[in-house]
């Protein structure tokens, strides 16, 4: 189920690429029984949570790609898939063009290139260890420095990269002695220690105080520009994505519904879900009353709707939306949206896998097997 993904002209080859990445989690225990406890187990396929379904994404050097979506849209699972922390149900991960395979030794090698920063720096740092210890671990684990002056120099250098200077004022401090912003900088420094080329940041500022969020976002921007890092920025805050990111990818119910240049996606959103998100976002400049087009909650991840998953809320839903999964239609230069509204004049493909009438673009993807139907 691989489709050729054409290069957008201005982009460098991707460092990390996801092709049709899918993750289904088995539902166990009482939730799986779901009131049907008396029914025999063999009655149907085991229910699964469609956390991420057929997501294609590419991270290129010196670019920030933001993944925007509500809670439960699968954005954190996507980050964990890209970090190699969970094994995909289907799909491929390519690092520098080569498929990533499982295995402990490969895992360490992969971690040298792809590092992750988590949401909560209060939880991701160990309260009984000081900054020096936290930052010495990546050097030791990856055999990059021995204890002593060499290690200290390297720790000082990495603290400098996240603007925690003078380094020796910080490295004997414990997490509780640091502010939230400083803690998140230590977490970023820890990720930078192994000189990764890809940084996956999962909601890196949402736990921080408002006045210091921009400082951390600007740091990520600097790392992109100075060190040419490929950065994935996961957030629920579309305004911050617009500020920091080069590309915005919008996820809904485990799928990518729209992607494109950050300003273009936020200024002329093509997918009804992106339009809904933008109309709901806080906006002091708003002069007209809010009209939310698409109330209601996201669908069940266990039995998602057939066709387009947004159709149950979509104000424009048509017959075809229930029948076929919308492919990514072009909505502008490097801007695609998986919505049949843009497919006017395009005949839907006769069968999955056949050549399409429209150009394949970044983020394009084949029709997935009808996993939603199976579980009805």
């Amino acid at each position: 189920m691989t489709t050729p993904v054409l290069d957008a002209p201005e982009q460098a080859p991707p460092l990390l690429e996801a092709r049709g990445l899918t993750k289904h989690f088995a539902v166990r225990g009482a939730a799986a029984a779901g009131g049907r406890r008396l029914r025999r187990r063999a009655a149907g396929p085991r229910p699964v949570v469609h956390a991420v379904d057929d997501v294609s994404l590419r991270l290129t050097p010196a670019r920030v790609t933001a993944v925007v979506g509500e809670s439960g849209s699968g954005k954190s699972t996507l980050a964990r898939l890209l970090a190699g922390l969970v094994t995909p149900t289907a799909g491929e991960l390519l690092l520098g063009g080569r498929p990533v395979r499982a295995g402990q030794r490969r895992r360490i090698g992969y971690a040298k290139t792809v590092q992750m920063v988590l949401q909560d720096p209060f939880a991701s740092l160990n309260p009984v260890h000081d900054v020096h210890y936290h930052l010495s671990r990546p050097f030791r684990v990856h055999g990059l420095a021995r204890a002593g002056a060499d290690l200290d120099d390297k720790i000082a250098a990495v603290l400098e990269r996240v603007a925690l200077t003078p380094a020796d004022a910080f490295w004997r401090k414990y997490p509780h002695e640091l502010s939230g912003g400083q803690r998140q900088r230590v977490a970023i420094a820890r990720a930078l220690a192994v000189q990764p080329r890809v940084l996956l940041a999962d909601e890196p500022v949402s736990m921080l105080d408002v006045s210091i969020r921009l400082g951390v976002l600007n740091l990520l921007g600097d790392l992109r520009d100075r060190e040419r890092l490929a950065i994935l920025y996961i957030t629920h805050d579309i305004a911050s994505a617009r500020y920091l990111a080069d590309t915005i990818v919008v996820m809904y119910a485990g799928q990518v519904v729209e992607s494109g240049a950050a300003v273009q996606v936020t200024d002329s959103p093509a997918h009804p879900y992106t339009q809904l998100l933008l109309s709901a976002a806080p906006d002091p400049e708003r002069t007209t009353p809010v009209t939310l087009r698409g109330r209601d909650a996201p669908p069940s991840a266990v039995a998602p709707p057939s066709g387009c998953r947004f159709r149950t809320r979509c104000p424009h839903a048509m017959a075809i939306c229930a029948e076929r999964v919308p492919p990514a239609f072009p909505a502008g230069a490097g801007h695609v949206s998986s919505c049949w509204l843009l497919g006017a004049g395009h005949e839907p493909p006769a069968a999955p896998g056949l050549k399409r009438a429209w150009p394949a673009v970044d983020g394009d993807r084949p029709d997935p097997p009808d996993l939603g139907e199976e579980n009805r």
Binding site: E70, S71, S179, G180, G181, Q182, D209, V210, S211, I212, R213, L214, G215, N218, H236, I238, A239, S240, R242, Y243, A262, V263, T266, D267, S268, P269, T274, Q275, L276, L277, L278, S279, A280, A281, P282, D283, P284, E285, R286, T287, V290, L292, G294, R295, A297
Partner: protein, 357 residues
């Protein structure tokens, strides 16, 4: 959203000081806070975590738990019947009557605020039974259904337990509970912070409708200043336990007077217009156990002058119906141009450049 023309004061807080702990180890969580909530008004209280905004609301309603201590000040409630109630002097029997029927509360985490082992019905009818003992069970049930439907939840959800509801529905149940006895003052402490933006917006819209219909006043506490500007009539900004500015919402957005308000506003990237680098505020919020001298904001303030480190500025009138506490506004020298943006015309908000989706 009318900037002016609000009714008489409803809840008046004067010189309120709150400490956590006592003696030399006391942490001054709120210092000398003056705040007035008018009838029919949505008053926003903005600030970062630790700025004292929740403490202020809890103390004003006498819900503060030890080791919190109110050390000074006064809080007055003006119920509709023309009486004046001194909330800090009121005894517990009097408070029991006032709570819920005059002042109610909506908290952030609806999962923690609702009892997980009781049904929605039990929790909704509890306050009715306590305050209106003459109501029959049937009447209470009918009122509970009415309340649920008022916040957009089907009445058959009465038999649900909190875990069977989505986050947005739980928060709606909290709002229904808060409105059960038609209070005059509803205090909302980060009521939508844990929710997704679409759900947040739905609830805020409903809240606006309910307010128009029922006529209560809201003290809306949040760290999200960009949201507050949209929904509040006026906004008070807190920093390290002190109120630093109070202004009509549009005036605060278009022409902030306090450097902290300015910094906070430039911490929210805009949804429109060209992208420009923004700086936020350098440094981090102070430790309340070791507050800076003088103006508590001066170590992070780019406009600070010598006097700022020495004396604390008073909260004084700064034009346009607002108050601000900054020496650069009522000192001797010229006001920095960044803090002297022209007063916006509050009657007509200029149309913002905005592409419609």
């Amino acid at each position: 959203m009318s900037g002016a023309g609000h009714g008489a004061p409803l809840l008046e807080i004067r010189g309120l000081c709150v400490d956590y702990g006592q003696g030399a180890a006391a942490v001054h969580a709120v210092t000398d806070a003056d705040l007035v909530l008018h009838r029919g008004e949505v008053l926003g209280l903005a600030g970062e975590s630790g700025s004292g905004k929740s403490t202020l609301a809890m103390a004003a309603t006498r819900l503060l738990r030890p080791p919190g201590v109110i050390t000074d000040g006064g809080v007055r409630l003006y119920p509709e019947d023309g009486t004046v109630v001194d909330l800090l002097e009121a005894g517990y029997p009097a408070l029991r009557v006032l709570r819920w029927s005059e002042v109610s509360l909506v908290l952030q985490s609806a999962m923690n605020a609702l009892n997980p082992v009781l049904t929605v019905r039990a929790q909704l009818t509890d306050a009715l039974a306590a305050h209106l003992p003459h109501m029959s069970r049937r009447q209470r049930n009918a009122r509970a259904v009415e309340l649920l439907e008022m916040v957009g939840i089907n009445g058959d959800r009465l038999t649900s337990h909190p875990h069977e509801l989505s986050g947005g529905m739980r928060q709606r149940v909290m709002i229904a509970m808060a409105l059960a006895l038609q209070p005059q003052v509803v205090i909302m402490d980060e009521p939508t912070t844990a929710l997704d933006v679409v759900t947040q917006r739905e609830i805020l819209e409903e809240l606006k409708d309910l307010r128009d219909r029922l006529g209560f006043s809201i003290l809306f506490i949040t760290h999200d200043l960009s949201l507050l500007i949209e929904i509040a009539d006026s906004i008070a900004v807190m920093y390290a336990g002190r109120l630093v500015e109070r202004a009509p919402a549009t005036a605060l957005f278009r022409a902030p007077r306090h450097p902290y308000s300015l910094g906070l506003l430039s911490s929210f990237p805009p949804l429109h217009g060209p992208r420009a680098p923004m700086t936020g505020i350098p440094g981090s919020p102070p430790d309340l156990r070791a507050l800076p001298s003088g103006c508590v904001f001066h170590p992070r303030c780019r406009f600070a002058v010598g006097r700022c480190a020495a004396d604390a500025p008073p909260l004084e009138a700064a034009g346009g119906g607002r108050l601000a506490a900054c020496w650069r506004l009522h000192g001797d020298g010229p006001v920095p141009p960044e803090l002297a943006a022209p007063e916006p015309d509050l009657t007509s908000r200029p149309p913002a450049s905005r592409s419609t989706p």
